[in-house]
Amino acid sequence: MTLLNAIVQGIFLGAFYAVLACGLSIMFGVMRIINLAHGDIAVLGAYLAFVVVEHTGASAYVAFAAALPVMLALGYILQITILERSLKAGLLTPLLATFGLSIVIQNLLLIAFSPDVRSLGPAAGALTSASWHVTSELSFSALGMVVLAVAVVVFGALQLFLSRTRAGWAMRATAEDADAAELVGIDSRSVYARATAIAVAIAALGGLFLAIRSVFDPISGPTQLIFAFEAVVIGGMGSLWGTLLGGIALGLAQTLGAEIQPQFAVLAGHLLFLAVLIARFGGGRLSLRVAR
């Protein structure tokens, strides 16, 4: 029964990782770049919501709704000021530029909010404590179910956006071939900016869940980035639904690893990620050649 419980909790945890990873997956899918500041942007979103809660006493959800337009605008600005320029400069420049940005965001957050750990759990109402105990060892937390439901809604909404709307078609066309899309009158610049705005907003949603589920501090970002990237890779880079499954696989690996020993949780996730990379890129074949 503890195993079954670990699987249930793993799926809930994985849904959270999938939300975190969603924006990373969109940006890779559309522009072929990985934003190394993605985790820090998620944490920035959590701090924005935190500030609203502190000043108005609103609930975490209202605070997030207030932070959302700010994050959308930030994403748009990030694209037109930094990412657009780095895209033109070659394959490695986006990595270097966003890594620098990540350090800047972390330390600005340190200056503004001190290294203290915070949580939005108290501002999230009954959701954090409510749970449905099936047996003494198997329980479904309300928060876990909400995160899973939101994850499915987010990925479903993106799917509908990409398959049913003109803006979604433009985004897919640009992802396929930006130059060809330009020829039929699609402005790839604004498509990219929109994609980044959406990605940053969903990252902030991931940040909100992080803040409600547990605690966060200014340097929580890199860990979130690693987990998000692992979810994207495990699910297959460039596949949106794959990212949801990849997140869940990562969550399962972590909770099942923790079943063996609590310290193995994160390690098990890393090992799954490395195993998937080896399986996909055939590291084994090469090692045989060297062994000969």
């Binding site: 770049i33 420049t93 350090i103 690693i226 055939g282």
Partner: protein
Amino acid sequence: MRVERWTRTSKVFTGGSAVVAFALASVPLIFDSDVVQKLTNLLILVILATMWNALAGYGGLVSVGQQAFIGIGAYGTVYLAGMGVSPYVAMLLAMVLAGVLSVPISLFALRLRAAQFAIGMWVIAEVASLLVRLDKNLGAGTGISLIQMNQFEPNFRQAYTFWMALGFTVLFLTALFFLLRSPLGASLQAIRDDEDAARSLGVRVASRKRLLFVLAGFGCGAAGVLVVANTLFIEPGSVFSVQWSAYMIFMVLVGGLGTFEGPILGAILLFAIQTTFTQGGPWYLVGLGATAALFALVLPRGLWGVIEGRLGLHLLPVGYRVVGSKQKAELGA
């Protein structure tokens, strides 16, 4: 029209740098141990910047996980010294260990491209850090001291460590210098300029990248060995910290990605910044991150790229120049 490698300045400078190395060797005899410790830190930065540049500047491999090898070097030293090996022998062996471990890691890591490689290396560093945290004999999460160094009198210890740092620096700089000047180096510079074009001309890109990766494994291992010898205490949280990558990226981007002299310049700059703002603090890191990002976007070949372009200055020549024709075309670096 003729092709030349050496200019008068570069001859003077290359000879001069040998003199500088000898002059540096006398530092522990003249200055007190505080200065010696600081200069050891500078040499560590020079090694790290040079190695990161070898990967990113010539191999096109942006790694955010070279701290894995720093940690392996540092913890390897502590482990071997704990087994009864003399500390300085343990340091040499730990560097070799880091270099040797980079071979199996390369088999897997070099299959990855761009962001996958960058974050894949980061995850490898995290795994190494987590494994150390699981091992009580290595001090788990709280860290461990290199107590075996207490057998040396502090001034002598600092001097030995400095000479070792100087030896490693000279070793890795000359290794890269001659590597880049060899026929192999021409292919490395071709990969730097255009990987696909190099491959189509028959350059064995994969094996060249492996060479750089293993060299960087040795070099970053050496840096880790020096870190523990210089501070005598390490903990997984700092020695496996991604901050090392931030420093390496800053030094190389500001100094000059894909130039030989640039990373050395970048290391000296970072050292100067670190000694000026001893408190460190978040504003200093904000400046570091913003500067690195700005250089990546605006000046991709860094300060040295500008100096080289404007003044035609070549101090340590790893490429060739065409002179005598009306258009002063440049080949290689």
